[in-house]
Amino acid sequence: MFDFCADPALLDTLPWMACYLTTAKQVMFYQSFLVVIALLAVTAPIALAVGFCGALARRSHLAPLRWIGVGYTSIVRGVPDIAFFLFVPLALDQGLEYLRHKVKCPDWDMPIRQGNDFVVCAAAKLPQSGAAPLVHDLYAIALAIAAYAFVFGAFAAFVLSGAMNAVPKAQLETAEAYGLSRRQITWRILVPQMWVYALPGLSNLWMVLIKATPLLFLLGITDIVYWARELGGMKTTAYAYPHGDWRLWYFMALLVFYLGMTKLSEIAFERLGQRLSRGQATLAGMTQAKS
């Protein structure tokens, strides 16, 4: 980074630190914070969408759809998250490769499962073995997002379905008396009003999602926990910047990051809550109207 970093062994503490903190490896650590934030930004809306569909399915008048909704939420809420985090990416990856194998290599005569090995033809590999490392990383992250959305979607479905039940029945009956169809009641009366009831549950879920991001590490994604451990570990003279066990400091940085995220989220949800309460027949809405 800096010109004077050519031989770190000769540097004083301060320039040494400046060089150390700007090595390419450190920069990867900084970038991994962005990966976590990006993951949150992508996962939250997808999980919310999955949850919304789940909640609607749970209320559906079609029995099979209702069974799917209830089954999905019950199973995911009951099985430990970590089982799904390990299962979903693996199942998706092998499932997709299996399907691609069937489509792209119909002439393949060897079994896909050979003893312990899972072997598909080269054209069916996901991503292709020649693809750029970035593609492999993105693919791994996409699988992780699928796992997060699957798990958190179920919780969101439960929260949203609770919120839908919390909308005063009188509102829906009035709408019916005015001659609105079921669909109109759902989209014009129920959905706009339910958010304020869903917000506490959703904000809670968001906090849990933030806290769950270090699980990325389990999926082999080089996230902030991976880099904190890797960089913080004692470094011998095999490295250009030898140092002792600094994991404490690195994990401290993670602590500050997560606390910062929590604080920001609290502020954002506070504002959102005020906005959604406006004009609502709830305690918060009434208080707002009076003042």
Partner: protein
């Protein structure tokens, strides 16, 4: 969920567009210097990186490096996330049942104990070792209390903060930690394992043959010995 399936499908299609069939993905742990580690540029480095690159050149293969936790390094090879393992992995019968190995590229090496003080009774001590290594297996057999950790780095930290009395691992990995004088070698070196080899899927016989040929060639012309001396010192065992 729909969006997700769509985006994954899209990714699958775009990924299918780029074709370069002969790229071999080399899996390593990246946390076991000087065998393999992530250097300050964030690249895989060390003995196995240099050896692996040379082997790929000789076998006329294009190779890229992938890091994976030691714990899951064999399962992820078997499920096809990468094609080889070069991670200081000793050839053992248990591993050979699940994956295949090339011939060894590093002769059987000594493992040593490291502790803060020299006068400890290793039989009754708490000894730290990395999970799933031959050293962990050996400690369990000696009757000492085994304390397992996911990475080699954590085993060192455990000894330094007093959680374990000693650490047991490959000599080449441990010796650099004695440089600052805080840890000393305890007891005699223990020869373990059948040498270090490259792990491959059992179904990948063609690739195995290619690497075997390249390793043989490097053994014959002495380049492997030069590389071993460069990373492990002049006294290291050679071919």
């Amino acid at each position: 969920m729909n969006k997700l399936i769509l985006s994954t499908a899209l990714l699958a299609l775009t990924a299918g567009g780029a074709l370069a069939q002969d790229t071999i993905r080399m899996g390593t742990e990246g946390a076991y210097p000087p065998y393999n580690f992530i250097d300050d540029n964030g690249e895989v480095a060390g003995f196995e990186r240099e050896l692996g690159d040379e082997l790929c050149t000789r076998a006329e293969l294009t190779c890229t490096w992938v890091t994976n936790d030691w714990d899951s390094i064999i399962p992820n090879l078997v499920s096809g996330n990468y094609d080889t393992i070069m991670a200081g992995m000793s050839i053992t019968d248990e591993r050979d049942e699940v994956i295949d190995f090339t011939q060894d590229y590093y002769p059987p090496t000594d493992s040593i104990y490291l502790a803060p003080e020299g006068d400890i009774d290793l039989e009754g001590a708490v000894v730290a070792a990395q999970t799933g290594t031959i050293q962990a297996g050996h400690v369990a057999e000696t009757g000492a209390t085994l304390l397992e950790f996911a990475t080699g780095d954590e085993t060192i930290a455990a000894v330094k903060n007093g959680e374990a009395d000693a650490v047991f691992a490959d000599k080449d990995f441990l010796l650099p930690y004695t440089d600052d004088g805080s840890l000393v070698v305890v007891g005699d070196p223990v020869p373990l394992g059948g040498g270090i080899g490259m792990g491959l899927r059992e179904s990948d016989t063609e690739l195995k043959a290619k690497f075997d040929t390249a390793i043989t060639a490097m053994k014959e012309d002495g380049t492997l010995n030069t590389l071993l001396k460069k990373y492990f010192g002049d006294e290291t065992s050679t071919y």
